[in-house]
Subunit: 307 residues, 2 copies
């Protein structure tokens, strides 16, 4: 039986433009991307905030995936976080057109009592001071994973470091890890993060895949090769959701389980980018995820060299 997974982050409506298509007001936000995919593995408790402009159908969709939405605060008369952006060329990075924080500007995460003992916690990218407030409300989770972003490294470095010292695993983009330790060397940045007391550091490299660093060495997977990427939005949070959801099913959280979880997260991320919003991940099944994991594992399989 899988343990419960707590996911705290943004719940948003997105306007997304790509070289091929455009979508307006679609369901987005780090907590949504993470929760939908994690729900295929484990029961999920979401904590976020929306305005009363947030369509009830979106909440019903989360609930239909078994996501407990008691932690989703709905502010009367408030506006939901609204992001608009565009991907160009290789679509590695979004150009933001607008960010209307709405009620998200005043987000103060409060965990319903039933969430506090959740064994698995994913702190998606929010202000590290809020991430610390969430940790204060939890009861020794078996595993706490955090994400962050350049903004907090630049303007809330001390709070970010304090938060990193209290979680087990940091999930960061390559450029964020480098920025945090002001180095061009990824192994050096990873060593810096492990030096804070983190057990593992997982570096997201976009279309180049992901790499984990720990005292037990390093593990790297490529991204699942895709002919066509429709929309990269949510890839990182879907990776995180698949990773923590899978880990919540595992009896032992060792190197083996984490390596498998990175493969699962990569497989999940490869689905979400094939369409806009959560269209693909909402419709997933475990056998389809398993099939893509096998495809990815086949892409890194190698016999010992004969020397």
């Amino acid at each position: 039986m899988a343990e419960r997974v707590l996911i705290v982050g943004s719940v948003a409506l997105d306007d997304v433009k790509t070289p091929q298509r455009e979508a307006r007001g679609v369901l987005g936000g780090s907590a949504v991307y993470g929760s939908v995919v994690a729900s295929h593995f484990a029961p999920v408790d979401i904590v976020g905030i929306v305005g009363d402009d947030f369509p009830a159908a979106h909440i019903q969709l989360l609930q239909s995936h078994g996501v407990d939405t008691r932690g989703l605060e709905i502010v009367k008369g408030g506006k939901t976080f609204h992001w608009g952006g565009e991907y160009l060329g290789e679509m590695n990075e979004a150009v933001t057109h607008f960010t209307e924080l709405g009620v998200f500007a005043d987000f103060r995460p409060v965990l319903p009592a039933a969430y506090r003992a959740d064994g698995f916690v994913f702190l998606a990218n929010i202000d590290p001071e809020l991430q610390l407030q969430v940790l204060d409300q939890t009861v020794r989770p078996r595993l706490a994973i955090c994400d962050s972003m350049n903004l907090w490294i630049n303007i809330k470095r001390e709070a970010l470091l304090a938060m990193l010292r209290r979680v087990d695993v940091a999930l960061l983009n390559e450029s964020e890890a480098r920025l945090l330790f002001e180095t061009h060397s990824l192994p050096k940045a990873a060593a810096g993060l492990l030096g804070l007391g983190l057990k593992r550091v997982i570096i997201k490299k976009g279309s180049y895949g992901a790499q984990m660093f720990s005292a037990e060495g390093t593990f790297a997977v490529p991204a699942v090769p895709l002919e066509m990427v429709a929309d990269p939005t949510g890839a990182g949070d879907t990776f995180a959701g698949g990773l923590i959801g899978y880990l919540a099913t595992r009896p032992v959280l060792d190197e083996t389980a984490f390596r498998q979880a990175i493969v699962v997260g990569s497989a999940c991320a490869s689905f979400v980018v094939e369409d806009f919003s959560i269209a693909r991940t909402a419709a997933l099944t475990r056998p389809r995820i398993a099939a893509r994991c096998r495809k990815l594992l086949d892409a890194i399989r190698c016999d010992p060299v004969v020397l």
Copy 2:
């Protein structure tokens, strides 16, 4: 017993500057980087051209590695190809300060009769018309691998395509593969190359490792994580030299052998960048290469996921 490996390319003297150090007039060139490392696996025949300013010690060094230098033309009164460049920041790409082609401008590769039946051929990056001339002088090698560069894609596209249709494996940088087929998608570029009749396409991604595409699927390895890169010059040619050298030891050139060879090539490339020129690869031993291959294989090892 390993078969003979023919390597055709540049033989050069390099001036290299990095954020840490600077070296002037050191031994370089694609054929040199490839030959030195391939010599740890198989007997090598080199074809290249130098001026009589080329130090005899460099030729002796090649010979001390069992490299047959009868194919190295020495032009009386001529100047050896001299390249000067600098690496900045993450050192992913060199900024060229000068390129003095010297005798290399008139390079017309002629294979000594003893080289023509070599079973393994690596055509390093030279004018594709010259690569075709080399192929014309060979007698059905078991394996022909080519490299190329943006310059030839831009100014000699037809000759390049003709050459690609006559080799078994293309080794290209990611940006070159994308440029050749004018696509942002690496799988599409790889499919385009395979469509030319190539059996395999191996894409070099610098610090992100390498990825092979074939009818049998894809295989990806990360680069060996290094705390410090002294000088990236020659990494791609060293990868190629290790790859073809290893393959020359294998009885069957199947998917298994190619996957192993990519690991060997990556291991060799991880050595060459730890110092300038061929300082590290000249001093290699098979057990040291094998140890680094095990390290790299450990970084991609993963059990099946439990779903």
